[in-house]
Amino acid sequence: MGWPAAALVFAALVVVPVGFLAVSVLSPSVDVWQQQWATRLPRQLVDTAVLLIGVSIGSVGLGSSLAWLVSAYRFPGSSVFGWILIAPLAMPSYVLGFVTLSVIGFTGPVQGAWRELFGADAWFPPVRSMGGAIVVFTLVLYPYVFLLARAALAEQAGSAYQVARSLGAGPTEAARRVMLPLLRPAIAAGAAVVMMETLTDFATVQYFGVDTISVGVFRIWRGTFDRDAASEFATLVLVVALMVIGLERALRGRARFGQAAGAAAGIEPRSLRGWRGVAACAACALVLVLSFGAPTLQLIVWAVQEATGPRGTPLVERFVDFLTNSVILASLTAAVCVIAAVVITNASRFGQARTTGAAARLTAFGYAVPGPVVAMGVVLTLVALDNALESIGLGLPGAVATGSLIGLVYAYSVRFLAPGLNAIESGMAQVPEEVTASARSLGARPWSVVGRIHVPLARSSVITGAVLVAVDALKELPIALLLRPIGFNTLPIWTYNLASESRFEQAALPAIAIIVVAMVPVALLSRQLNPRAGTP
């Protein structure tokens, strides 16, 4: 009884800030919609669709083929690539965006050298373009597909692949006819995450001159100062996100209910010899270099230049402060999201599965809304709460939403609960109902079952969930920008302040710090992917 109620409360906490958007639709700003429809909106819709489709095709292609490569074959470095290929998770897309533009953009050294060699009018693929944006997003987002596809390959695909081969299917045919359908739920889930991340971005796309509907929301908000109209356009983003979720559900089919418990084995990898092995190794290395190695190196070069340049070393004092803030914020958010996710996933074990299932679906909303919109929703929610409390004489001191970390952690949790929940849900699905029943019949109360049995058993997925949330929280910019208490700055804010003024050399150090800090949880995740790390 208590559990479903708690799950519903968590769901409500996520939905209410988003709900403030929905309210705005009730009194539509018709003139703004008409004006936008007559001018920018059609193009924005098309661009958004092209971007989402391009990035998901890119990420699914890259992520699942890399997962297949490291799972089905043995080649030089394959076991290392098996886990290190998720490293780009630590790279914020806006950082890769500005590094890409300044290195291979028109004014960067690469095109400079190109013009030296082939003349001023030599053709070079346009970097600041839709294509450029798709490539950059693909490079930082493919790990989501890789991660899920690889887990699926490791956990369940082995016997099916062998059976397919024994029935006379060649490797390619087996992959196409058996593996792809089997992996479809994982790939669909990964693609949905990729699309959400792309859809809600508004910083990276602007570097590349791609005008998406998220950008539209900010143009209206910041440019015409019309928050109501901006909220209405944000619901458009939400609608697209719901379409993505619907698409994912459809692609997943009923597979999520048919998960076999335990036993199934992974694919036995075959050795690739000679040039094939080298080619496989080179392909993995190339992706890693482009998405992670080269940009990080460029950032290091800039940071060193800056440190040794005329402006002198960056201020270490602030640096430590920002770093601490980022870590505190990411940890708190991860903790809150894990607790909420554990409650929501367990509620269906201790109560009516239908209501809590719906609650779980609702929490996905937060992930579908761009950060600043969530932030504004949280402010409005907390202010409304504060006013309600004040009217009954229980006013909270100060500005709750923005004067403390409460609003910040709340908004982060609204935004990032979904990825954490998904991971923990899939882990809990592996814990048989009988185990829960046994523990309860032995007198353990639900909390005790969760603490002593479920969380330890689903430990790896709880860690995965916490990591995904923490990594997202470490990179998150717009919410912190809007909601942080005065004096509370994070690494992305510092990076953004400098990068938005094109002071890339100065932005390099905090950008590196984000990557380094985000690498910690990512490495934790990598350890789980590394079969040799094993279980205790």
Binding site: Q35, F106, N497, R503
Partner: protein
């Protein structure tokens, strides 16, 4: 058991963090600022001189403004500072500012650069003007007005910043204020036909240097910044419209918030910014002082000139036209 301990720990940690954040000292001015040029020299200097400490929160103008509005009387902000006039005008409408009565500021800052009722004042001026490559643009074809860049002969030779940017919007707003919506639309449509639209001014300047385009419209201090690092940077500046209205100047301004803890303390600071503190405030970012008695820093004074004819359209006026500018940019098909 573990989970309970974990939750207890988290709650304790949260409470500690929260309490650490909600200190409310005397003699501290808290500023929400849309300027993010790293550390503000002026703030540090004022703190050193007076012992009043300054805390600030950087963000975008619009979001900070919404935040102050939402925080209401609980806001910590004593001063709201922007990089653009539009948000000052809206903030005034929203009732975020309180009127201040400061003969010092009224005396120091020209009328066009402050609110007539004393809700806000400008503290630095940033000119948005034309830059060009002296190698590829000859003296006779050098454009001297914004309108010229809409002419067909500049097809493919112009770099402009995207329409989501405040600076683009306020330039267009000033065009609307000066020549009216329809003519402004013709000009901006011409720009859209001619120009490569770029995400920021630095890229625009580098693009002129590297030959992607021959002219661009940028804020003057970006060029100053590049020249500071590389004295031979091959881009030069021309003050736009010197024979006509003058160059479009946007401002960075501030006012005392309605619910400031100690309005006098905040006002004292703003008065300092407008007078003794002018150089400290503007020089770090190569901006022009708004106080006519204060000389611009040596770099811009020698390279760009001490003075130029500035468009005297009141900042409040083009600020209030910002929303129209955004719609006009949409209509013009400006990316």
């Amino acid at each position: 058991m573990h989970s309970r301990a974990l939750i207890f720990g988290l709650v304790t940690a949260a409470v500690l963090i929260l309490s650490a954040c909600s200190s409310s000292d005397e003699d501290t001015i808290r500023i929400y600022t849309g300027r993010h040029y790293d550390l503000e020299e002026a703030f540090t200097q004022y703190a050193e001189e007076t012992g009043v400490s300054i805390e600030f929160l950087e963000g975008s103008d619009a979001e900070l403004r919404e935040r102050i509005a939402a925080e209401g009387e609980d806001t910590e902000a004593d001063i709201y500072m922007t990089v653009d006039a539009g948000n000052l005008a809206i903030a005034t409408q929203q009732g975020i500012f309180q009127e201040i009565d400061s003969p010092v500021l009224d005396d120091a800052i020209p009328e066009a650069l402050r609110d007539p009722d004393g809700y806000w004042y400008a503290f630095s001026a940033r000119a948005r003007t034309i830059v060009y490559s002296p190698e590829r643009v000859s003296a006779e074809e050098l454009p001297t007005t914004y309108e010229e860049l809409a002419q067909p002969e500049w097809q493919g030779r112009v770099c402009l910043r995207n329409s989501s940017n405040t600076y683009t919007q306020s330039l267009v707003a000033s065009l609307i204020g000066n020549v009216g919506y329809d003519e402004a639309l013709t000009i901006v449509s011409g720009w859209a036909d001619n120009a490569e639209i770029l995400p920021n001014d630095v890229i625009a300047l580098n693009s002129v240097a590297d030959g992607l385009c021959d002219v661009a419209i940028v804020n003057h201090y970006y060029l100053a910044r590049l020249l500071e690092d590389d004295g031979s940077f091959p881009v030069e500046l021309v003050w736009a419209d010197q024979a006509g209205r003058g160059t479009h100047v946007n401002i960075s301004g501030a006012g005392v918030t309605k619910f400031a803890d100690d309005p006098q303390l905040a006002q004292d600071f703003l008065e300092w910014l407008g007078t003794e503190g002018q150089s400290a405030f503007v020089d770090g970012n190569h901006e022009y002082p708004v106080n006519p008695d204060v000389a611009p820093e040596a770099l811009i004074a020698t390279t760009f000139g001490e003075t130029f004819v500035a468009d005297d359209l009141n900042a409040a006026e083009f600020g209030s036209l910002n929303a129209d500018a955004v719609r006009l940019l949409d209509e013009a098909g400006y990316e």
